[in-house]
Symmetry: C2
Subunit: 268 residues, 2 copies
């Protein structure tokens, strides 16, 4: 339960449930990063972390955006994790899930080599596809339950023969396993499910994306959460303020203000 203890103490220390999603999108990173720095991606990530680390409990790294940069992306990911060190929870947002020997390779990379504290996974391939992650008892695995996109209604909310929804079958199956280091992911829009499950499971960490650019209602969400182990993720709405910025100083002021606002609001 190393993860849960760290999560609890960081939430108390930082006074927020905010997680910042680091999605370095080349088309949105201000141009001066590309003009001024040899490794703009690395510089951008470091800048975001430096500007926000006082106000955030966790960082969620979206691997898609790092992978896009190839070798440079891998280097930026490593240096960002080193730069954070132990000052915040680090979540590898990869949504993997594969046959056991392949999931083991992913787990080795994310937990053993890169040193992430947690990972996000997709449950479609069943428990044995997630076990290599769960076997790291000091780490946490966040399993997709009901997600924030409209596609959530295609399969996750389908009713099974037993009268439950698919994502409820997923939750029950993992909860009834012997693993204790599991958490679930709910899109911010699913506040009634969040209410039900955070009431039922007070000690299960919940990760909630869908606030900010994805348009979720923050107040409604916060009213629905009934355990202390939740994290609310904001990515684009903090990383990419709308005005054009010509230098680091102006950009820093805007990002810091947005981060502080979300940090203060996402607290209860």
């Amino acid at each position: 339960m190393v993860y849960i203890e760290r999560l609890k103490s960081l939430i108390v220390k930082k006074k927020t449930h905010l997680t910042i999603g680091i999605d370095p999108d080349a088309s949105k990173i201000p141009e001066f990063f590309f003009n001024e720095f040899a490794n703009p991606l690395e510089e951008f990530c470091k800048f975001i972390i430096e500007t926000t680390i006082k106000y955030t409990t966790a960082y969620k790294f979206n691997l898609a955006f790092f992978e896009y940069f190839g070798e440079t992306g891998f280097k930026a990911l490593e240096s960002s994790l080193n730069f954070i060190s132990k000052r915040a929870i680090t979540i590898c947002d990869s949504k993997r899930g594969d046959i056991p020997n392949t999931s083991e390779a992913y787990a080795k990379t994310y937990f053993d080599k890169l040193g992430f504290d947690a990972v996000t996974v997709s449950p479609y391939m069943g428990i044995d596809s997630i076990e290599p992650f769960l076997n790291r008892s000091d780490k946490l695995t966040y399993i997709l339950a009901a997600t924030s996109n409209k596609g959530a209604y295609d399969f996750q909310l389908l009713e099974t023969r037993g009268g439950k929804k698919l994502f409820e079958e997923v939750i029950e199956k993992f909860i009834s396993s012997s693993y204790k280091n599991i958490g679930f992911i709910f899109g911010a829009g699913h506040s009634s499910f969040i209410e039900y499950y955070t009431n039922l499971y007070k000690n299960i960490p919940i990760l909630i994306p869908g606030i900010g650019a994805q348009g979720g209602d923050l107040n409604k969400l916060l009213e629905s959460v009934h355990n202390d182990l939740f994290l609310v993720n904001v990515s684009r709405a903090i990383l990419y303020p709308t005005s054009p910025f010509v230098n680091k100083e102006e950009y820093k002021i805007a990002v810091e203000q947005l981060c502080l606002d979300y940090s203060t609001k996402i607290n209860k």
Copy 2:
């Protein structure tokens, strides 16, 4: 339908439905690669491709194993794809599936930057999570249906309220969409499902892992396939013959023989 035409003509030309799964596992690659070469991973992949390309219609690259090598892995992946050029179908085995803007980043990397012909995806997050891949009409997207691991029974084979299994709901949902560039993945052990769906859909490509190290019965599988667009994947059983090898020449003979055996058998 560019992909399907290429697939058909390569199957005829190579006289096989074999796909070789490139899973470069550091603990299984013969030691002499690490002693003799500056970039052993790149050299290993090139060696496997050189030795097998006459006998195989496609290569399936398992991204977990490349990601494990970090920057070096990315370089090896790029150089392997360049080395294959147009001589075989290339499948990116990544099993991604995320909110649309993230899936778009993955699609850009795999299709636009790396130039893969096809990708594997996980359907849990629904159609919009897969659309960025499907929007590349010249490429193919293989969607997980019923997989080869025992975890397939946890959710994929659950019955829904309508009396279908979850993976059948997945197939129907994608088939009834407007996208035509879709294929499905069935583990070799699910021969009755393969029989049913390849009879029903003669023009839908099917990717079948689970033969070789995973222990599937090849003859039973081949009897159950009723369309011409199938590919059977073999990874470890070709890449890693059991005897220890002291040099490239011995290793080449063993890999080539195994590949030729599978190539000849996986034809109908």
